[in-house]
């Protein structure tokens, strides 16, 4: 399959390379360049503006380190929760037809659509004393407002759709026939999942985790409602910006981006390495 699509791609690019002056192609390339530049130019500008000295100084700032670390830990926790609870749901959605499936899928996409502050407000509204869940949580000593727990809850909420949709695609790509054969050979549904499905889908799970974590790290609107303190990196960047201006917020942003880049590159490389080995 892949080889045939590959050969199609080759035969397609050859004539277009020869006919490089095709006006339609030129237009497509030009508009693509504009879009890529639109994304890259502000980012590169921001990354290069702060001086090395200011970057170094920021790195010495304990508050900055703490906020970036908190961002990473809470987002990582959100990705982990998504992995544990989202994987079964993604599997169900990829494999089974059931009444109301479309509704469940829409529900999963809701966190993408809802304005971010509304997410925070929604979570707080079930955590208060007026709600039975809130009373239950209080009885158990779980506090949402201004706590790490609250941060993780919010980040999980906004990150879940990215994990579930990615992993669902991964499961859907695995032929159900592999599972059928496994069952016919004597493996139970559970054994089939762990011996066949999971080894074939884990790469999608890693990518889903990365997507979920990336989304969680970048969350701001929902976080400021639930927990301004303890301060995650985006909130700190916002605070520095409003209190001291662009110059002071930039270095923090640069460090946040760098840490994210390194982390995600590592994860990507890790998942690709295993792919090559397999």
């Amino acid at each position: 399959m892949s080889s045939s699509t590959g050969s199609i791609a080759v035969t397609r690019t050859r004539p277009s390379a020869r006919q490089g002056r095709d006006p339609f192609l030129c237009l497509a390339v030009a508009s693509s360049a504009v879009i890529v530049a639109f994304i890259l130019v502000p980012l590169v500008e921001m990354m290069t503006q702060p001086t090395l000295a200011s970057l170094k100084e920021t790195l010495m700032d304990r508050d900055v380190i703490r906020s970036i670390r908190l961002s990473m830990v809470t987002s990582g926790a959100a990705a982990l929760i998504a992995l544990v609870f989202g994987t079964p749901l993604a599997y169900l959605l990829a494999r089974h037809r059931f009444p109301g499936k479309k509704i469940v899928e829409s529900v999963i996409d809701l966190p993408i659509m809802i304005p971010h502050p509304v997410v925070g407000i929604a979570l707080l509204s079930i955590a208060g004393r007026n709600h039975p869940i809130g009373r239950l949580m209080q009885a158990a000593g779980i506090e949402i407002m201004g706590t790490v727990t609250g941060l993780i809850a919010v980040l999980t909420f906004v990150g879940l759709p990215f994990y579930i949709n990615t992993v669902k695609t991964g499961f859907a790509e695995i032929s159900p026939r592999l599972e059928h054969v496994s069952r016919s050979l004597g493996a139970s549904a559970g054994a089939t999942f762990f011996r066949v499905t999971l080894p074939l889908a884990w790469r999608h799970m890693v990518v889903g985790g990365i997507m979920c974590m990336a989304r969680a790290v970048s969350e701001f609107g929902a976080v400021v409602i639930v927990a301004y303190h303890p301060m995650v990196a985006p909130v700190m960047i916002y605070e520095r910006f409003t209190a001291y201006g662009l110059k002071y917020s930039q270095p923090v942003a640069v460090w946040l981006i760098l840490v994210c880049l390194v982390l995600f590159l590592l994860l990507r490389v890790f998942s690709l390495d295993r792919e090559a080995a397999a």
């Binding site: 016919s184 004597g186 074939l200």
Partner: protein, 344 residues
């Protein structure tokens, strides 16, 4: 032995309707039918991987309808082999052994025999993604047989193979079946497979069994127009009674009406013999016609002849076509042996 009673499966847009099927112990049975007829669905119902709406399925004398697939004792080999891509050849073959008490010395020896028998000994450490089509089929077969299933289900195992591999795997199936006496239910849409392997066949169309019988029976005496069409009866024509004789349109057939009530006549294209047109009196068995089209298909050629408004299709050797110089518009005479006219 497989016994299917009143099996119904409903999917969105397709359903199996009250299918009855019996595959005897040690039989090689082929399920034939056009694409989309529901053949694979029957296999998957027996394997237990699709939900059935109604009916009972027995495998080796045991009711399995309510059992999960892992407890049915049914091996399945899919057309695309469905090998586990993350496992080596050896691990694919051994996948099910731990569930079947075959970790005993005798079981292991059985597996080794199987691996040797299928010529897989040199491939055991290979990744399954690097195998050829024929090798993949042999691994899939070994994997299914390693658990010593009561019946083996084959889902078009030959159709995705190159012609040379196809012959090899077909021979393998035949000798394996002869040696082991395994009950096999194979799905195919290719009559050649059925001819060379099956003792009996069933023709399935649109979720219904049209006919069950030996290959020869179904091939020579199709019971419905769908089956007639499927087995390559190019001439399936409605018949009517006329003065105690049977007629197709204006053609009186050279066969007695008999006692049956017939609605169709079917004639294989190779049973219509063409000769240059003769003048004068015709024998009772002969018709005169005019060629409406010819189509050269390599060794053979199909000739459509218009006989008083009815188109009959004949197949002759291309060399005969050229020798007789048969062209569109040319008059020919047709000879049909009454024994070759199948009425149903």
């Amino acid at each position: 032995m497989i016994r299917i009673d009143q099996l119904s499966v409903r999917l969105s847009g397709f359903s199996l309707k009250s299918v009855d099927l019996r595959v005897e112990q040690g039989e090689f049975f082929c399920l034939l039918g056009p694409t989309g007829a529901g053949k694979t669905l029957i296999l998957e119902s027996v394997a237990g991987v699709v939900a059935i709406a109604d009916g009972r399925i027995r495998v080796a004398g045991r009711e399995v309808s309510g059992l999960p697939p892992e407890r049915r004792g049914v091996g399945i080999v899919y057309q695309d082999c469905a090998l586990f891509p993350h496992l080596s050849v050896a691990k694919n073959i051994n996948f099910g052994i731990r569930y079947h008490n075959r970790s005993t010395p005798a079981g292991r020896a059985g597996c080794r025999d199987l691996i040797d028998r299928l010529g897989l000994a040199s491939l055991l450490d290979r990744s399954v993604t690097t195998l050829s089509g024929g090798e993949k089929q042999r691994v899939a077969l070994a994997r299914a047989l390693a658990t010593a299933p009561a019946v083996l289900l084959l889902d078009e195992p030959l159709s995705s193979l190159d012609p040379c591999f196809r012959e090899e795997i077909r021979d393998l199936f035949r000798s394996l079946h002869r040696e082991t006496g395994l009950t096999v239910l194979m799905v195919t849409h290719d009559f050649t497979d059925a001819h060379s392997l099956a003792q009996r066949v069933a023709i399935l169309n649109d979720g219904r069994i049209e006919q069950v019988g030996t290959v020869t029976e179904v091939f020579k005496r199709p019971a419905t127009t769908v089956v007639a069409d499927f087995v390559g009866m190019k001439n399936v024509l409605p018949v009517r009674e006329e003065n105690n004789r049977l007629a197709i349109g204006g053609l009186i057939l050279p066969v007695p009406r008999g006692n049956g009530h017939y609605r169709h006549a079917a004639i294989r294209p190779e049973h219509i013999h063409l000769a240059p047109a003769v003048s004068g009196a015709l024998s009772k068995l002969d018709f005169q016609g005019r060629i409406s089209a010819t189509s050269n298909q390599g060794f053979f050629a199909e000739v459509s002849v218009d006989v008083s408004g009815i188109i009959l299709k004949a197949v002759i050797l291309t060399s005969s076509l050229l020798a007789m110089d048969l062209r569109q518009g040319k008059a020919v005479s047709l000879h049909i042996d009454p024994a070759d006219i199948h009425l149903f």
